[in-house]
Symmetry: C2
């Protein structure tokens, strides 16, 4: 490995980030302290929530520091170990992404459960995105067999997992996505209907696709999608608020024509992060591991090659360039 | 009684209602069928939720019918009975308001618990508005001792009850109201701070009054107040959504600059109507009856005199003309 290149947060974006906010720099190899390990990263994850970390605002995860390497989910192989807990050659998950090589105390790295799956799935259906889908749908929204579920960004990493978990649990599913290709894939995943949000107002499409209304909304988008869900909600509907990608970058604050239906329909909505449910990860690995093994839940990846492409991959999330999980392979 | 005058819904309003939507007409005395009673109304309630019933839209209560008498909470005295369940002279609560005299099957009328309170309180702290405050604060938002509670329209009928229940339960309370007089009364009720929403942006005032943030928001207003609550919410804040008077009449849909905080702060919000908790009315009468008897919860009324004034009283709700409960005395 020639050096250790990492993406540095060079400046904080206003609105949509662009390449000027990032700088690729060789940060060298940190000396390995006692109890530390060194990992050569194989897969980097880029996720919409990272946009929030580019702001200097306290949120559910601390902001990235200016002039420092960015962070994020990664899977790699141990290449050097000064810890009794890890051996060279082991594959690990950790949060020191956006760089070629990561070093740190053993506690910052996670061994992976013994399952016959490909490495990158620990960043997708068996990682952050799968756990977000699982806990949001089943714990936050308490979705159950027979429910009518609406999920936005259904061709994204989280959304595509929500569609498949909901079908595995006997729910009716309506997914939204941008464009005919993505909608076709959402239907392939098992969705009973797919809404192309580029093809007219979401509220109109949703009310047509769900004439009886919806019991559950899994929100990845905010804005018009959330407003449409207010309009379509049945009595005692539950909304799991996972993300609002439409509102991450600057723009006018979103307006909600149907928010008053919260009262009439007794809508419950709640924001969450998958880490709220860390104590229940055993349930997740059991269920999701089973669905992945049986093929009930499959993944699809949009893969960028090489550390150089990481910002492109990240920026592509906000242009809807990914089908399924957006990844960078090193 | 000379005839039986009632307010008829003459036309449906667009935006803010005005007198042209109402017509006072003598509807005469209905013949009393077997099992029916006739009640002479003494007090009529006017409430913001009635604005929704003026629209031809299915909501949590059915719309008022065009050309028919309007309905609403009322307290009156039985003047004629063909039911074994009621005797002439008894005081009852029922929903056939907006008229001088009401007749119907005994099942449409409720006997009042034996408590030493004035009749009109069955339309206030011991009626719809008190129950709304009680169940919204304690059941929907699960507010508990030590919580920091924000309540909008705190000088209104529901809001003033929320302030006092919260103080009786050992919470810190910030109330909003329009104007110095109302804010002074909110403080008299025990609120730790009062915000005058006419005196600058609510979000700024709330963040100043609650530097540590809020655990609970009781929403009677929607719009800017709800957005301010998003901004000020602490981790795991709970919002009980009772009303959105700011959004009942036409206007641009409300915009929310801080709605993304739902995720970071894991905000739970839920709409409700007090009738969702009918099975727990025993708890309400026990607790609220005790607080009213001890003076821990007091009421204040803005009283209009005579059936002729009912629309004026109702329209006054949207101009903030009431301190406490708005009533019409016949």
């Amino acid at each position: 490995m020639a050096g250790n290149r990492a993406w540095i947060l060079k400046s904080r974006p206003e609105g949509l980030p662009d390449m000027s906010n990032f700088e690729l720099r060789d940060i060298g190899a940190e000396p390995l302290e006692d109890g530390w390990i060194r990992v050569e990263n194989k897969w980097l994850s880029v996720d919409p929530y990272m946009r929030g970390r580019m702001n200097d605002v306290k949120s559910y995860v601390p902001p990235f520091a200016l002039g420092e390497p960015m962070q994020g989910g990664a899977v790699g192989k141990v290449v050097e170990s000064r810890s009794p807990h890890f051996e060279v050659g082991e594959t690990v998950f950790h949060m020191l992404g956006w760089r070629e090589s990561a070093a740190g105390p053993a506690s910052a790295f996670n061994k992976l459960p013994q399952m016959p799956v490909e490495d990158h799935q620990w960043l997708g259906n068996l990682g952050l995105t799968g756990a977000t889908a699982y806990f949001g749908l089943l714990r936050v929204a308490e979705a159950k067999e027979g429910d009518i579920v609406f999920v936005s960004a259904a061709a994204g990493a989280v959304g595509s997992a929500v569609v498949q978990i909901a079908k595995a649990k006997g729910m009716t599913v309506i997914g939204s996505a941008g464009g005919a290709d993505k909608c076709a894939w959402v239907r392939e995943l098992g969705a009973d209907a797919a809404i192309d949000y580029k093809d007219g107002p979401v509220v109109k499409s949703l009310l047509a696709a769900a004439p009886k209304g919806i019991d559950v909304y899994f929100d990845n988008v905010g804005g018009d999608h959330l407003d449409a869900a207010f309009a379509a909600a049945r009595q005692n509907a539950r909304f799991a608020i996972c993300g609002m990608i439409e509102n991450y970058n600057a723009g006018p604050p979103p307006a909600f024509r149907y928010i008053m239906r919260v009262i009439a329909a007794r809508i419950m909505m709640k924001g969450f992060i998958y880490t709220d449910y860390m104590a229940e990860m055993g349930d997740f690995y059991r269920d999701m591991g089973g669905w992945v093994a049986s093929g009930a839940v499959t993944g699809r990846e949009t893969i960028h090659e090489g550390i150089e492409t990481a910002p492109d991959a990240f920026l592509g999330l906000f242009k809807g360039e990914n089908m399924g999980k957006m990844l960078v392979r090193l």
